[in-house]
């Protein structure tokens, strides 16, 4: 018995000692922040940690993009563990706000920064005028063109979607085996449905969303897609699926494709992907839908930084995001593992963007400077689509893409998606309108 008490006493002593040891770092004056980023953002984050050495303790952790959304309910439950600043997919801002883990950022950065971000950061703006995230990059869709194939086949770059369709059908007829794009993953949504203003995720308030697959703005897009799919000029795979790469991408048989601004550096150029030779690719503005005044873009990705309201150093946390989007050392100079330099995506900050422009415009890989088209389209992202509290992107990549593969009917796929997304929305208390 006596022995037992002594063990308890020792354990108690350790516990007390433990708390004093644990309490000590909190007294240190040096701020410390924890950062979560995905692999493409890792070199920049590591560089930042190095630069800040001595001023801020920066702990960089590699996480998949959607990790925080999965873990935040756990952190909320145990009331600790929240990282200070996190890179994630754009829709997360809404989910994180619901989970009380997206800080209103306006007062933590100077007005000059918000002015610099004004055009690029609309996605992050809440209805109260506060910014709840910082947009890393814009992923506006443009028309990627293979100038060599276009010339060989005698086509001119289409200005309207009707021309786009006509060229696609002509390719199917006269140059079978060539392609005008892949619709898998978020391809159909970001490149066709969204630019056509089809109400897929049109959140009208925090509790109301419009999902209207039968709207004419949707059916004109699905009709065009169905025509191109059945003619054989468009694939229902994703642009990085092994069979699409083999048959079209790496065989250099994609004549043109609508895709986000990062397609050039991530999909078309890399040796492990399409590996299209230098001097053939450029970007053109989006073709316009008949009867419209603006040739809108959609977005595919375009990640965001969020800061946790639980962070003890919100200013330092936000400073990391500012570094990533606007500092030359990240935007242009940082060394990536594949040998390339700088941020691969179109920066949302004007300052960062100007730096990035210099890099891309002078890149000999492109047949012509793709930047002007990207810049034009960056101002024309149709703003009706909004962040929502349910995982709409997974539903798009799951329900829509799978139904499309099975039926080869974009309208049927859109309706299947709508049913699924409406269920998700209703479950979270959204009012869903279909017209």
């Amino acid at each position: 018995m006596k022995k037992k008490y002594s063990i308890v006493a020792i354990a108690g002593a350790f516990a007390i000692a433990g708390t004093t040891v644990m309490a000590m770092p909190a007294q240190a004056a040096k701020p410390s922040i924890t950062i979560w980023v995905d692999a493409p953002r890792l070199p920049g984050a590591k560089l930042y940690a190095q630069i800040m050495k001595g001023k801020v303790d920066v702990k960089v952790e590699l996480h998949a993009q959607a990790d925080l959304v999965q873990k935040v309910p756990l952190f909320n439950r145990v009331k600790k563990g929240w990282p200070d600043v996190v890179f994630g997919p754009p829709n997360d801002v809404s989910v994180l706000r619901d989970a009380d883990n997206a800080l209103a950022l306006n007062k933590y950065a100077p007005a000059s920064f918000w002015k610099d971000m004004e055009a690029g950061n609309q996605w992050c703006k809440g209805s109260d005028g506060q910014y709840y995230c910082v947009k890393n990059d814009l992923a506006q869709t443009v028309l990627w063109v293979n100038t060599k194939l276009m010339k060989d086949f005698g086509y001119t770059v289409p200005k309207t979607m009707a021309e786009f369709e006509k060229i696609g059908l002509d390719i199917a007829k006269n140059h079978p085996g060539y392609s005008v794009g892949a619709l898998g993953a978020q391809g159909a949504y970001s490149s066709f449905l969204w630019p056509s203003q089809c109400p897929v995720n049109q959140a009208t308030s925090a509790t109301a969303v419009k999902i209207a697959p039968k709207s004419p703005k949707c059916t004109r897009a699905t009709t065009l897609l169905n025509n191109l799919i059945s003619a054989g000029a468009m694939s229902t795979s994703a642009p990085w699926d092994a069979d699409f790469i083999k048959e079209y991408g790496a065989a250099n048989k994609v004549v043109m494709t609508i895709g986000p601004s990062w397609f050039g550096e991530f999909v078309i150029r890399p040796a492990s992907s399409w590996n299209v030779p230098a001097g053939q690719i450029t970007a053109a503005p989006m073709p316009i839908w008949p009867g419209e005044k603006v040739n809108y873009s959609g977005e595919w990705g375009g990640g965001i930084y969020t800061v946790s309201p639980h962070s003890k150093f919100p200013k330092e946390a936000l400073a990391f995001a500012i570094f990533m989007v606007s500092d030359k050392r990240n935007v242009v100079d940082v060394k990536n593992p594949d040998g390339s330099k700088g941020a691969p995506t179109f920066p949302a900050s004007q300052k960062g963007n100007a730096l990035w422009k210099a890099k891309v415009s002078s890149d000999k890989y492109y047949a012509a400077d793709p930047y002007p088209a990207m810049l034009e389209q960056s101002k024309k992202i149709f703003s009706g689509e909004k962040p929502v509290s349910y995982d709409s992107n997974s539903a798009m990549e799951g329900t829509f893409a799978n139904e499309l593969k099975k039926t080869k009917d974009a309208q049927a796929a859109l309706e299947a998606f709508s049913t699924y997304a409406s269920n998700l929305a209703k479950q979270l208390g959204y009012k869903v309108s279909t017209n």
Binding site: G184, E247, E397, N423
Partner: protein
């Protein structure tokens, strides 16, 4: 008398000592989590704003619940009988013909079993992806030339059944082969003398003698299949994003907890999933004599 009590006490002590490591694990990783899950159910969440035991009802009414039940049951309807029949047939054949090949045969059963979970997903992706597949020519005989003919949500039951089958069939063949080895040679010899053919010996003598092992296998395969998670989740997150979203019941529980933040609903679903597995375990314990081996053989010894 006093001596006997002391002996008994010693015996108890030894029993507890031997049991305690397992009891410790059972309590920490079995009983405590179940109690925690139970206490978690009535917590409030976005889908259950007032909290309470409605969580069970809300999960049952979730629009993803019935499709997940259907997916898992269809998967099991293919996977469980296929595995049981194949395992029994193979182990009976293996038992029939002792030869120098046996060692290699056994090895060949183990090899596919080592390809499970994450690795199996990658291997099957490569096998079924027409552009890289080693069996692309046979695939093309069936008109399969592109990945989107194969990787559709509707076809996943067959793909997962194949993955699960190859992952566990080999191991079970060896285990059932082991249980066949435990049959006394005299019994087989007697049957043979009485004029049984090899087939009759297999069906009428060997099979009934290893019945309890087969029931045991059936229950374990059933419980394992019910908790299908790794394969669809990896396929869904890593290979074809969204192809198997909330496809299985375990995935739905995971989704509820970590996408919707609804821990109550996730716990409710997990507890419901416990029931069939628990029933299975009770069948093994009370309806087969799986765990009464020692007594039975002792009884037999007495008779002899």
């Amino acid at each position: 008398m006093a001596k006997r009590i002391k002996q008994k006490r010693n015996g108890n002590w030894a029993m507890w000592a031997m049991l305690s490591p397992y009891l410790f694990l059972l309590v920490s990783f079995g009983v405590v989590p179940v109690i925690m899950a139970f206490l978690e159910v009535p917590h409030e969440s976005r889908v259950n704003p007032d909290g309470g035991w409605d969580a069970f009802k809300i999960v049952l009414q979730d629009f993803r619940f019935l499709p997940a039940v259907k997916n898992v049951l269809t998967f099991m309807a293919i996977f469980v009988p296929l595995t049981i029949v194949f395992v029994i047939a193979m182990s009976l054949m293996l038992d029939l013909n002792p030869s120098k090949w046996k060692k290699w045969l056994r090895l060949s059963y183990i090899v596919p079993a080592s390809i499970s979970g994450a690795v199996a997903v990658l291997v099957w992706y490569a096998i079924l992806q027409p552009t890289v597949s080693p069996i692309r020519t046979p695939l093309s005989w069936f008109g399969i030339t592109s990945s989107d003919q194969i990787w559709q949500t509707e076809k996943l039951v067959y793909i997962f059944a194949a993955m699960a089958f190859f992952a566990i069939a080999g191991n079970w063949i060896l285990i059932q082969f082991g249980s066949l080895q435990s049959i006394s040679g005299e019994v087989i010899e007697a049957a043979r003398v009485d004029g049984c053919s090899a087939f009759q010996i297999a069906i009428k003598i060997k099979l009934p003698l290893i019945k309890k092992y087969i029931v045991y296998m059936g229950v374990l395969i059933f419980a394992g299949g019910l908790q299908l998670f790794v394969e669809p989740e990896l396929l869904n997150k890593g290979i074809y994003l969204g192809i198997a979203e909330s496809w299985s019941l375990d995935q739905l529980a995971f989704e509820l907890a970590f996408t919707s933040g609804d821990f109550g609903g996730a716990s409710a679903l997990s507890l419901m999933l416990l029931i069939p597995s628990l029933i299975g375990a009770l069948i093994v314990i009370f309806k087969t004599d799986m765990f009464e081996d020692a007594n039975v053989s002792r009884g037999k010894n007495k008779e002899a």
